[in-house]
Symmetry: C2
Subunit: 580 residues, 2 copies
């Protein structure tokens, strides 16, 4: 049992049989076809040699098969994490490809260590800081930046930039150096891929192709584009016409080696690695959960951290860059019938074979084709409609989403996501800092107490009941004080104030001090403070403080009881005019 | 009315009469006596010439009289803000007193602008980020640092340091240069002042002195110490024996001038000014509220921001450093019978007269006496018992307090308070990220539903009710998902899940997406999702989204209604096995 906790694969391996093997092999074949061009393209997106994408698609998949908890997640290079890798490595101002690669490998290692530590320490909750609006704004902005960054390959020019502004400015400056042949290849490939994605499947179904086969043919679209443009470039000698190609890819599997231990580099990469880990984890766990729920399976978020962490360490050891579970490939894997993580290991075998055998054929693959693959893939990430939906639902969530989106576009991915997280925390604190509250009175003839502004209720001029609909904690503690002092100052005839607490889930030390101050100050001005309907856990905690001893009034189980007893006793608190 | 909103002084000025004048004059006289040595001492604590303390005690008080909303707050230099000023100016690595003074003046100006802007934009809620445990830890640590920093004056050595470690190390290294005469003066003054504080009043009362007079004599303790040690130094020629004295103080009122506009300096000081503003505001508003409540008066926190802001700008224009409302002086002012802020203006007149007439007499005032005044004053800020009380009440508040205290001692005031604020926010999010929840069942024969672990209740194996006792927002949205999937995976016979929401005060966009995911995934596995007892404002917001249209089940007003209707209808949701 303990061993199975460490290796979740032992659970499904015990009952592994031939039908499962067949399903997994079919799924692996389809995912492999999809992954070859994607892995090359995402490596280029990350600013690395194309073969690094292949390396990141072999051992990481095996590692996830051993340690991951999702049955159908497809791990490997993904667009957003590749963009974040490019940004992280770009921050370092390195010279040459070798240094960039070393930094990317170190980034994968650090990210793996961070994920595994988060898993062991059960810190998966750190991912909670990425609210949905922030992720949504971030992913949309990343999609736009990635698509824009690929335009240079369609134009055949050499430019750069880590945010939308830089990219657009540099592109505009370089546009007169555009290569027409490259442009034709790139635009054709893009149009073809969009057509495949939108039109091919319905067309094939109409001409009588079976749904399953039509699906596979559609998924193989990028492979067709790769094959056709590679052949055209090779046969037409288009390389001499200025079409940039992938070029020489070392044939053979990557060697294994530890990343160089460089404390300075690691320190510089730490924040980037943390962001990549958290963003990658959130993306991955969300698709894993969606797929698991469809088969009533469970994933364990903490085990996912360990699975993804080991995949990243495996990537680093084999010369790869940061990886995570990808949305589109996982859905394809699931739809193709993958039943266990073994499908991932078989995909790894497929990529390994491709790395051994196919790499010479990729020499004439135009970079413009890979750029087209990326553009078509990432534009599905762009969801501007989410802005409208979020605006309708909540203005403050909209603000967090828009700020993340704009800052990511303008300032880059790291500042964008950090600002988004900071802002969503601030907005949450702001929202709860002025909680909804109501003065309540008794609905005649009942034991119910409702808002005096909304209902016809009985009140008593010497007895005021305030219901606060929020936990009391530091962000609203002072607001509560202001509220109470204001109420008492405006109602000079009040002798008793009841704080009705059915919605108070927590009273922290700040709110406790505020309650103590309120109690003391109300006593000074001759008003008794009572509480009603305090929840069990909150009451347990209050009992560990001096507050209940010092309280000028009583704690009542129900508001009705408070109302009756206070009105019958008709006592008042003694004012205390000396300075405490 | 509008003019009165800007100048709250117009409210009390209209009914100002002779008895009020007398009360205010008496209070002002007492506060002046207390303020003279304090203002000199706090200027030295801030690393500035002694006269700057006097300058900061004239115009700022007049400005607060015009714009402040508290009747009895005594504004001027205070210990913690002076320490923070020293740290802020110390960060800049300036050369010489003139540059330090210019920086302190700029700091007061910036701090004034920040406070006024916060007041105009009604951003007083920013002060909420300083939770009580953080302030308490910060003030205690500041008190310890201040007391330790004054030991050098008692020893008569020249050392420095901005945190406890530096101070102690430097003191230890310099201890063999200690001046015995200075030590005798310093220790005698300290012992005398402690004796005055603890023993004098009971003694005087016992020998028949009236309580009021005894009080004034006690408050004048520091003045006695100043007079006696100054006379001793002057008559005994102790300056020649190595006793450091205040020395020449320019006679006359400060000139008015704008602080030099230096964008670099302002940028460097901005964070310090923000921290000083917020800490000063929190200290000040807390004492103002305590005193106002005793007379059933009200203060307006936003007006307080403007009052304190104008006081800081006034301080800056007259060559002073940052000021705020001080605790002990305000209490003295209140006890001495101050009725309106005019008492503050009279105190300003008192200090102005002292600046004009008394400064030559302060030449021989030993710095050791001022250090003794500070030590005795700040040790009352040190409240280590708060650690124990907070530990008993809440471990996470204790962690925030201890971290603030230790980091302030070790790393200095600015890092200490920033880390404390960050930590208390993180801890709050962590605490609400795993909210209390319960599976509930029906208490037989009633309409109540309670925790199945605590009560004997009826349940139904096809119907599960989960009550979550917290608002649903980004920090716990994913936890909710995990919780629900886990429940459903562990209870294969479940066909309906009811989320009971009486304690849910908010559902933000992240939680909404989680609910949508839960709804979809439960539907995929053939389980219907229902809600019950959703609050009005939360329901209003949900209506602005698509969630209610997509919801596989119903929203019920009461849990009992949900229980009855679902059990009677006995329908189940249709599973959806296709990928959405």
């Amino acid at each position: 049992m303990k061993l199975q906790r460490i290796f979740p694969c032992l659970e499904w391996a015990r009952t592994y049989d031939r039908p499962t093997l067949t399903s997994d092999l079919v799924a692996a074949a389809i995912v492999t076809i999809m992954l070859i061009p994607q892995s090359l393209a995402y490596a280029l997106l990350a600013g690395l040699p194309a073969e690094v994408g292949l390396y990141a698609s072999i051992l990481p998949l095996v590692a996830y098969t051993l340690f991951g908890s999702s049955r159908t997640l497809a791990v490997g290079p993904v667009a957003v994490v590749s963009l974040m890798t490019a940004a992280a490595v770009g921050n370092l101002a390195l010279q040459g490809t070798a240094e960039s690669l070393a930094a990317a490998v170190a980034l994968a290692f650090l990210s793996g260590v961070i994920l595994i530590l988060m898993g062991i320490l059960r810190l998966g909750m750190l991912a909670n800081f990425l609210s949905h609006p922030v992720i949504s704004g971030f992913i949309t902005a990343s999609g736009i930046i990635i698509a824009a960054s690929q335009l240079k390959h369609l134009l055949g020019v050499n430019t750069g930039g880590h945010n939308l502004y830089e990219i657009v400015v540099n592109l505009t400056a370089a546009i007169d150096q555009a290569n027409l042949t490259t442009l034709v290849i790139g635009v054709s490939a893009t149009v073809f891929l969009f057509w495949v994605r939108k039109q091919l499947k319905p067309l094939l179904t109409r001409v009588g192709v079976k749904a399953g086969l039509a699906d596979i043919l559609t998924k193989a679209g990028p492979v067709f584009a790769v094959v056709i443009t590679t052949l055209a470039t090779w046969s037409g000698g288009l390389q001499d016409a200025g079409v940039k190609v992938v070029g020489h890819i070392p044939q053979g599997l990557p060697g294994l080696s530890l990343p160089s231990f460089n404390p300075d580099l690691w320190e510089q990469l730490f924040i980037s690695a943390l962001l990549i880990s958290v963003v990658g984890f959130v993306e991955s766990v969300s698709v894993a959960q969606t797929l698991a729920a469809k088969r009533r399976q469970r994933i364990s978020p903490d085990q996912e951290l360990i699975g993804l962490g080991s995949a990243n360490i495996a990537s680093s050891l084999s010369g790869g860059f940061p990886v995570t579970g990808g949305f589109s490939r996982s859905v394809v894997n699931f739809d193709a019938g993958a039943e266990t993580p073994a499908a991932g290991a078989f995909t790894a075998v497929g990529i390994a074979i491709a790395t051994l055998l196919l790499t010479p054929m990729l020499f004439f693959l135009p970079k413009a084709t890979l750029a087209a693959t990326i553009i078509v893939a990432v534009l599905s990430l762009v969801d501007l409609g989410a802005l409208k939906r979020t605006w309708d639902y909540s203005r403050s969530d909209f603000a967090a989403m828009l700020a993340t989106l704009l800052l990511t576009l303008i300032e880059g991915v790291e500042i964008g996501i950090i600002a988004g997280v900071g802002l969503s925390i601030l907005l949450h604190l702001y929202r709860t800092s002025k909680p909804h509250s109501a003065i309540v009175g008794r609905v005649p003839g009942t034991e119910h107490f409702r808002n005096i502004d909304r209902h016809q209720v009985e009140t008593d001029e010497s007895l005021l009941t305030l219901r606060v609909d929020e936990s009391l904690y530091f962000a609203n503690a002072r607001y509560l004080e202001d509220l109470v002092y204001d109420l008492v100052a405006r109602n000079p005839s009040v002798k008793h104030l009841i704080l009705m607490c059915p919605a108070v889930n927590l009273i922290d030390a700040s709110a406790l001090e505020s309650l103590e101050a309120i109690n003391q100050r109300l006593l000074d001005s001759g008003v008794c403070l009572h509480l009603s309907e305090v929840k069990g856990p909150v009451m347990d905690q209050l009992k560990r403080s001096h507050f209940l001893n010092d309280l000028s009034g009583q704690v009542y189980l129900s508001q009705f009881e408070a109302w009756n007893e206070i009105r019958q006793s008709n006592q008042s608190c003694q004012p205390n005019t000396e300075v405490a």
